[in-house]
C-alpha cells in the first residue's frame, strides 16, 4: 500500500475509506440478490441433493436413512422406472408439441405486427393477455372445452361430422390439449420478444432487398430471420427450460383428482411425477432424486445449446 506516504493520517483514512467504498460498494449492492439466492436457490438445491441420497418421508424428515444412490438406481431401473421413463417421454413429446408451434406462430405474428396496421398498439397489447392469465384459470377453461360431457371441442367435431373424442383418456389427444394451453399462453410473450428484435433490424436492408426485387416472404426469410437468429436461440432456450419444468397445466388438467397425469399416466410429466412421489406418496428422497435428474437434464440441454450457438456463430 502506497497510502502510508500520505500528508496526514486523516487523509490516509479518507483515501482508504474511499478505496474501500469504490471497491466494496458494488459487492454490497449485489449482495441482497446473492444472499437471497443462497437462501432460496443454492441451499434448497444442495439440501435436495442431500435428501436424494436418503430414504426420507415427508411426514418425518427428522428420521432419514442413508441409502446412497438407491433412489437413482430405483428411478432408472427399479420399481418406479416404468413411471420415470414414461414421464420423461411425455415431457419430451409435450415439450415438442408445445414449443415448436408456439415459436413458429410467434414468429409469424411478430412479422405481421411489424407492418403498419390499423390498431397496431392495441393488438400488441392484446398479445400479452394470455400470458397475464393465470395457469389455473386458463387450464380450467381448456379443461371445460375438452370435457367429454358437453365440451366445446367435441361439439365442433360433431358439427364437422366426427364422433366425440375422450380427450383426457388418450395419450396424444390429452397431450395435444395440454400443448394447446401452453401454446396459447406463451405465443404472445414470444411474439413480443421477436417484435422487439425485428424493430432493431435496419430499414435499409429491407429497402435494398425490395430494390433487388425480393417479395415480402423472401424479405422475411432472407433479412428478418438471419437478423433474429440470436433472439430465436434465446427463446428456444427459455421455452425448452419451461417445457422441461412443465407442471401446472398437466397437473390441473386432470381435474379434482388430477395427480399422476391421467389414469394411465398418459400426460404425466417429470414435474408432476416429482410432486406425486414427494407429496402424494411422501417419498421426499425419491422426489429429490427426480429434481436432481431434471437439473442434470437442463445442464445437458444448456450444453447442447452452447454447442449449437457456437456452430451458428462459426457459420456466419
Amino acid at each position: 500500500m502506497a497510502s502510508s506516504t500520505g500528508p496526514s493520517r486523516r487523509q490516509t483514512w479518507r483515501t482508504r475509506l474511499y478505496r474501500w467504498d469504490s471497491k466494496g460498494s458494488p459487492y454490497a449492492f449485489v449482495a441482497p440478490f446473492f444472499l437471497v439466492f443462497a437462501a432460496f436457490g443454492l441451499f434448497p438445491l444442495l439440501y435436495t441433493g442431500w435428501l436424494s441420497l436418503h430414504q426420507v418421508s415427508l411426514y418425518n424428515v427428522r428420521s432419514s436413512r442413508w441409502i446412497g444412490l438407491r433412489n437413482y438406481t430405483d428411478l432408472f431401473t427399479g420399481p418406479p422406472s416404468r413411471f420415470f421413463w414414461n414421464a420423461l417421454r411425455n415431457t419430451i413429446t409435450l415439450g415438442a408439441l408445445s414449443t415448436v408451434p408456439q415459436l413458429l406462430i410467434a414468429l409469424g405474428l411478430a412479422h405481421l405486427l411489424n407492418y403498419r396496421l390499423r390498431g397496431r398498439a392495441f393488438l400488441r397489447t392484446a398479445l400479452l393477455a394470455p400470458y397475464a392469465t393465470s395457469v389455473a384459470a386458463a387450464t380450467l377453461v381448456f379443461a371445460l372445452i375438452f370435457s367429454p360431457e358437453g365440451g366445446m371441442a367435441n361439439w365442433l367435431l360433431g358439427l364437422a361430422g366426427f364422433g366425440p373424442v375422450d380427450w383426457e383418456a388418450g395419450r396424444w389427444t390429452s397431450q395435444f390439449a395440454i400443448a394447446l394451453i401452453v401454446t396459447w399462453r406463451w405465443t404472445g410473450y414470444n411474439a413480443l420478444i421477436y417484435l422487439a428484435a425485428m424493430q432493431a433490424v435496419p430499414g435499409e436492408l429491407y429497402e435494398a432487398a425490395a430494390i433487388d426485387g425480393a417479395n415480402r416472404w423472401r424479405q422475411f426469410w432472407h433479412v428478418t430471420v438471419p437478423a433474429l437468429r440470436p433472439t430465436i436461440l434465446f427463446t428456444v432456450v427459455v421455452s425448452t427450460i419451461g417445457a422441461t419444468q412443465l407442471f401446472g397445466e398437466p397437473f390441473l388438467f386432470g381435474g379434482q383428482s388430477g395427480h399422476q397425469g391421467g389414469a394411465a399416466n398418459q400426460y404425466e410429466t417429470l414435474g408432476v411425477l416429482m410432486y406425486d412421489q414427494g407429496f402424494r406418496n411422501s417419498m421426499l428422497g425419491r422426489a429429490s432424486a427426480i429434481a436432481w435428474t431434471m437439473f442434470a437434464l437442463l445442464l445437458l440441454l444448456g450444453l447442447v445449446n452452447t454447442l449449437i450457438a457456437r456452430q451458428l456463430r462459426r457459420a456466419r
Binding site: 479518507r14 475509506l17 474511499y18 474501500w20 467504498d21 466494496g24 460498494s25 454490497a28 449492492f29 449482495a31 441482497p32 444472499l35 437471497v36 437462501a39 430414504q55 418421508s57 415427508l58 411426514y59 418425518n60 424428515v61 427428522r62 428420521s63 427399479g78 420399481p79 418406479p80 416404468r82 413411471f83 370435457s147 367429454p148 360431457e149 358437453g150 375422450d166 383426457e168 383418456a169 381435474g255 379434482q256 383428482s257 395427480h259 399422476q260 389414469a263 394411465a264 398418459q266 412421489q277 407429496f279 402424494r280 406418496n281 411422501s282 417419498m283 425419491r286
Partner: protein
Amino acid sequence: MNLPGTRPRRSALLTAGALAGSLLLLTACSSSGGGGSDSPDGGKTTLTVGDFGTFGYKEAGLFDAYMAAHPDITIKEDTTTAEADYWTALQTHLSAGGGLDDVQALEVGRIALATSDALSGDFADLGKAPGVDKSAYLPWKWQQATTADGRTIGLGTDVGPMAICYRQDLFQAAGLPSDPAAVSALWAGDWSKYVAVGAEFQAKAPKGTYFMDTATGLFNAVVSSAGTQYYQGGKLAYKDSPSVKSGWELAMRADAAGLSQGLKEFDTPWQTAFARSSFATTVCPSWQQANIQKFSGPANSGKWNIAQAPAAGNWGGSFLAVPASGKHTAAAEALVAWLTAPEQQAKVFQAVGNIPSNQGAYALPAVTGFKNPYIGPDAATGQIFSAAAKAIQPAEIGPHSGDLQNDFSNGILLVEQNHKSAADAWSTTVQQIDSSVQ
C-alpha cells in the same frame, strides 16, 4: 456542496444499510414460518379446527353453540375440500412443526400412519382427556386410533356404513321393484347379486342410462365389507386377499357387461352426471347422501331412494386429533370431547347425514327416527345406517390402506376409461403399488 470527504462516508453508510437490509430480509423470511394459529384478542382464546369435506359442525350450528356456552373461546374452521390435499398439507406442517391447527381431523385411511411410531408422538393422548368415555365409542373405531402402547390420539367422529342409493324412477322404468325393502331383498347377502340385478336393469334400461356410476365404487364396497382387506398381520397382503380378488373380478364383470358409466368418482363429470340422471345406483356411505343431494339438485328431489347394501361395510369416517405442540391443547381436547359426544354427533347426523361413531347416539330418536326428505322420504334411513354400523366387521387397516384404495380405483379406471385389458390394468396397479410403498 459535494465536499471530498462526505461522499465516501455517506455511501459507506449506504453500503452498511444495504447489507443490513438484506440480512433483515432473510431473518424476516425465516421467522415468519411459525404457526400463527391463535390471536389473543381481548383475552379470548381462538381455537382453529382443520378438517376436509363436510364435517357438518357449521351446518349443525355446533361451533356457534359452543362459543355461546364458552364466551372466552372463538372457533375458526380451516377446511379443505379434497382430503388428499388436506393430508399433504398436514404432513408438511407436522414435519415442519408449524402451521398446525389446534384440532386436526384425520381420515380413517391415514389413521394407521398417524398412530405409528413415526407420527403418534406429535399428537396428544385423548384417552385421558376429561369428559371422554371410552365405552361409548364403537370398540373397533376406538382401537383404530389407539397406538401399540395404548395412547389414543384421535376420537371418532363419523363412520361410513354403506347402503345403496338408487333411482326409484329408473328402476321402475326398467321393470324392477322400487320399494326399499324389495330392492334390499334383490341383492341381500352377496355383492355378486348386485351385479346380477345390474344385468337385469341394463337389459330394459332407458336409453343412455347405466346401472352404476363407476365400478370403482363396487370394488371399494366389496373390499370394505370384508374382514380381510389390504393388510394381514401388519404386512401388505392384497394379492392374496379374497376380498380384493372378488372385488376386482366383480368390477371387471360389471364393466364388461356395460353396467358402469365409467366415471371418475368426485370428478366434475361425475358430479354433472348426477344432474343428468345417467346412472341408477351408487354405493352410498352415509356421507354420500350430502353429495347426492348437492349434485342431483332440486329437480331430482324425491327420485332417489335408499336400500341396504348386500353386506355391511365401512367406507370412510374420521377422527379428531389434537397436535401436541399446540398452544391451547387443554381447550382443544375439551372441544374435541364435546364435539364427539353422542348428542353432538346426532346433531351432525341430522344436518349432513354423517353416522355417529358414538354408540350412545344410535339409541337417540334423532338417529333411529331419521328420514332423509331428499332421498327416499319413506325409507328408514337412520335404521339402515345404524344397523350397518353395528354389523361392520373390524378389519386391519395399514399405513397405506388409503393409498391402495386410490391405486385400485385408478386401476379400474384404466379399464373403464382407457380401455385396457383387465390383465394389463392389474399389472399396472401392482407396479404402481410396488413403486409407491417403500
